[in-house]
Amino acid sequence: MAMALTMAMAIVLGALALPVSARADSQKLIHSERSLYREVLVYESGNERCMCFTRQCRIGRQTCLDMRTPDRFIMNYPQMMMSALYLKPRPQAVLIVGLGGGSMPRVLTKLLPESSIDVVEIDPAVVSVAKRYFAFQPGKNLSVIESDGRVYVKKALREQRHYDLIMLDAFDHEYIPEHLLTQEFLREVKSLLAPDGVLAANTFSSSRLYDHESVTYASVFGEFYNLRRDNRVILATNGKLPSVGQADVNSKALQPLLEAFGVNGERNMALFSTRRDWNEKARLLTDQYSPANLLNR
């Protein structure tokens, strides 16, 4: 009995210890920078370079890049986010909230050279690290605005701007800006979308927050596509949601272009679902009630 227990413990401990030490050994810290908000760290292991906000990338990686093929997405969620193009293949004006390593804007400028892309990032240190280590290069059609996401959305509304595609990617595993996950914010985002514009949001797939967040998105956008893997991507539109058949036609038409960036159209399309797999009685998140961080556990 005691023997079995010891062995079981050894196995459990082994399972816990191995991946951590393996990761710690192979990861090399190549840059760290303190900002007003956090510490921005750049790690390399093999050909992979990652931006993290915690030591040894303990809690999630913000973005990673394969240095041999910098244009290929190597994480799941950004290539899932590209599914937004199946609903809106040629967006003229794009807004991205949350820069990270800038992999999405970098790919989108290559994919859509005629479109204008605005990226909002709150942390100047993230911008400078993305430029130095992640080949992020603002230019004529790609601008970066250093601002809080919601403050920018309100400002853009006052200036009567509209975007055909808005991508929300401002959350990390550690801390959620709670004012970016409320019904009022989503309404503002919806008003900022052009008619039939598309919203793609990278959010959470687990924890109690899943139910609250789903209910809140549904209250503003009605039906939406819910793509779930380890992350969750919500695709919603300001208008009628295009059918899966239509999205599939677009995905096939786009695949020759998207192939080079590591986007797999078939795999993405297999994730499209409108099933309401959440508790519809969960409480709405509003500016008055938004304990997102307390719910994310």
């Binding site: 601002s147 809080d148 800006p177 709670e178 500016d287 009630y289």
Partner: protein
């Protein structure tokens, strides 16, 4: 009775200030974000208002101090929270439209919303010290006990609001509840007869 009420008011006022301060972050976030500037602005305005409140409360305690007056200060601090509930959103929109710089804008917004109630809250502790101290030898002891109660109240207000209350109630509901409790304590204090000097 006077002694108990003085402590209760000081402790509650500590709770009230920190609860409003935390909710202040919530109220400002939709317009100005929740970055370090916004928290910096809120904390600055609260500290400034408290410091001036201490000065005013100490001055006011010189002439005819009474628990009744202490209660009225608590009532004033509560009632001046009402404009936050009524005009808060409209005011925040106006400020964010007119000032582009996030630092200036959040300082102005925090001033408009929180300066007055926090100023009145600041008056409470020095005023309560006057009601509690009746000889010089024990003045430090009384002041120490009062600081304890007031700051302990602040700790409780911070913890309860940020860990628990925001999970069950809406921001405005919490503000109304705080206001209600202040009104009850304030009215009870106003009903008490007698001055500090009469108690000596």
């Amino acid at each position: 009775m006077q002694v108990i009420l003085s402590y209760v008011i000081a402790g509650w006022s500590g709770f009230f200030v920190m609860a409003v301060e935390l909710l202040g972050g919530r109220l400002l976030a939709p317009s100005f974000g929740s970055g370090i500037y916004v928290w910096g602005a809120i904390i600055t305005i609260f500290m400034l208002a408290l410091s001036l409140g201490y000065l005013a409360g100490g001055r006011l305690s010189v002439a005819q101090p009474s628990v009744r007056r202490l209660g009225s200060i608590l009532l004033l601090a509560a009632v001046t929270v009402l404009p936050i509930l009524w005009f808060g959103d409209a005011m925040l929109d106006r400020v964010s439209e007119s000032i582009a710089d996030p630092r200036g804008a959040s300082l102005l917004a925090a001033t408009c919303l929180f300066f007055v109630p926090t100023f009145f809250s600041g008056m409470i502790s020095p005023y309560a010290v006057r009601l509690l101290v009746n000889d010089r030898a024990n003045s430090g002891k009384h002041a120490g006990q009062l600081y304890f109660v007031s700051t302990f109240g602040s700790a409780a207000g911070t913890l309860l609001t940020s860990f628990y209350l925001v999970l069950v109630l809406e921001v405005n509901q919490i503000l109304f509840a705080l206001l209600g409790i202040s009104l009850v304590i304030g009215v009870v204090a106003c009903a008490v007869r007698g001055s500090a000097d009469a108690a000596e």
